[in-house]
């Protein structure tokens, strides 16, 4: 047990040193979307056969919501640290969505990607996307909102 604790301790120590180096190096920045074109390219890198109709960047440039041509599904491009993850949300993929001031907070049913926070300062965009995302919530789990 002593050896095990030493091994874990050494591991955590190296992790702490690495974290300090990352903190003091230039590798801290997060990715941000410059324009819808960039969001489209990132989304299509993962879903090359998708046909987006309309793209909304969140106000912080960390996410994009994509209206897909098939009508039912919503594309979501999420900033994940310095990387981007694209996904297509179908009916039942959203567990709940709440409007918290200017932010739409999504709980997703995917255990590996459990949530998203979408800052939308334009009230029209926010209410439109709230309705659209709520339509993806299955059954009675829809949360009350106050957009």
């Amino acid at each position: 047990m002593r050896d095990l604790l030493i091994a874990i301790g050494v591991n955590l120590l190296v992790g702490a040193v690495t974290a300090l180096l990352i903190y003091f190096s230039s590798q801290r920045r997060q990715a941000g979307l410059a324009d819808p074109g960039e969001a489209l390219n990132l989304f299509r890198a993962q879903f090359p056969d998708s046909v987006p109709r309309n793209i909304t960047l969140t106000s912080d440039g960390r996410n994009a919501l994509i209206d897909l041509s098939d009508g039912s599904a919503v594309g979501l491009l999420q900033g994940y640290g310095r990387r981007w993850n694209a996904r297509v949300l179908h009916d039942g993929d959203v567990a709940s969505v709440q409007a918290n001031e200017a932010t739409l907070r999504l709980k997703l049913t995917d255990y590996g990607s459990p949530r998203a926070a979408l800052l939308l300062t334009d009230p029209n965009e926010r209410s439109q996307w709230l309705a659209r995302l709520q339509s993806l919530v299955r059954g009675p789990e829809t949360s009350p909102s106050h957009a």
């Binding site: 047990m1 095990l4 591991n11 190296v14 180096l21 990352i22 903190y23 590798q27 994940y80």
Partner: protein, 326 residues
């Protein structure tokens, strides 16, 4: 079993190797070598690693017990010498190849191994992002035949350790290519970048631990193409840095599939053991279908280029405007 000198040497080797992680990061910050680290990703890796060490410490006896049991019933007496070590090292590398290949091609084993591929970065720290469940996934049984043949458990343990230690340095973008003879014989950062990539053409390739001969022999070798840089991570990436979710997410996904109503027993078993991406209704994509879709896209693009090219062949004076529009 290994004596204290052996244990000390292994611990020192591990410490030296761990120190290469801050060194890589330091060189990236000062000399601008290619190495991208991210705070939360690295912290998640370290916590996953701590869990992995813990479970190895608690459940590692399963590996040891299996090997000792088989050795107690060994077929031959093989002396522990330098030549028997070389033989067991090569055979253990073959064992590693199949362990690794099965870990990618059957979902139950992938649920354990997926942890190692869950980072979207590729740097030395990624090597620490190891499974919590490798001891009870069942693949430790692959270690048994060598002991049953008669190789001493200490030799098997040493070969296992050297194999894992070798694989540390290949988790880097800082090294582009090794000399040609080296790339042909041994696993390298270039080959392993392919292995960690989620580009369809790179999926399920380059399973080797040390010797690339196994991938050439069993048809799983894919060379890194400079025209297509690897994108690291999973086909369906995670959006969480929570180490518990990282370590367990595929098991949860399997459980959700297993309890779906209306499936036959065969379909449930397929959700458990078929390759990742299998689904009873064909709604998901596995490696083969992703590659086929990618190949079809390439073909369409090539056809489009050809049609433009053939349109431009009989180009007459004054037809440049039409081509530009096309």
């Amino acid at each position: 079993m290994p004596d204290p000198t052996y244990a000390t040497l292994v611990n020192l080797a591990q410490l030296a190797i761990l120190l290469l992680i801050p060194l890589e990061l330091f060189l990236a910050a000062t000399l601008r070598i290619k190495a991208e680290y991210e705070m939360r990703d690295t912290l998640a890796t370290v916590l996953v690693s701590a869990g992995s060490i813990y479970f190895w410490g608690v459940l590692g006896w399963l590996f040891v017990a299996g090997v000792l049991f088989a050795y107690a019933h060994r077929l031959f007496e093989i002396p522990a010498t330098w030549w028997s070590f070389l033989i067991v090292f090569v055979l253990d590398d073959l064992r590693y190849y199949w362990f690794h290949r099965i870990s990618h091609r059957s979902r139950w084993f992938w649920a354990s191994h997926v942890v190692h591929h869950s980072s979207q970065h590729f740097n030395l720290s990624v090597n620490l992002r190891q499974s919590w469940t490798s001891q009870f996934s069942g693949l430790t049984l692959l270690n048994v035949p060598l002991a049953w043949l008669g190789f001493h458990p200490a030799l098997i343990g040493l070969a296992f350790s050297v194999n894992l230690l070798y694989q540390f340095w290949i988790h880097t973008e800082a090294i582009d290519r090794m000399p040609r003879w080296f790339e042909a014989l041994l696993n390298t950062p270039s080959h392993h970048r392919v292995h960690h990539a989620n580009n369809p053409r790179y999926l399920d390739a380059n399973y080797a631990g040390v010797f690339m001969i196994w991938d050439h022999l069993f048809g799983s070798f894919v060379a890194e193409d400079r025209a297509e840089p690897p994108r690291y991570g999973l086909v369906k990436n995670l959006t969480t840095f929570n180490p518990i979710r990282i370590a367990t997410h595929e098991y949860i996904a399997i459980a959700k599939d297993l309890v779906k109503p209306g499936l036959t027993l065969r379909q449930r078993l397929a959700y458990l053991f078929a390759p990742p991406g299998w689904s009873h209704d064909g709604s998901r994509q596995g490696t083969e279908s992703l590659r086929a879709a990618e190949a079809a896209r390439r073909q369409r693009a090539q056809n489009a280029v050809r049609s433009i090219g053939s349109a431009s062949q009989p180009m007459e004076p004054g037809s440049a405007e039409t081509l530009a529009v096309g």
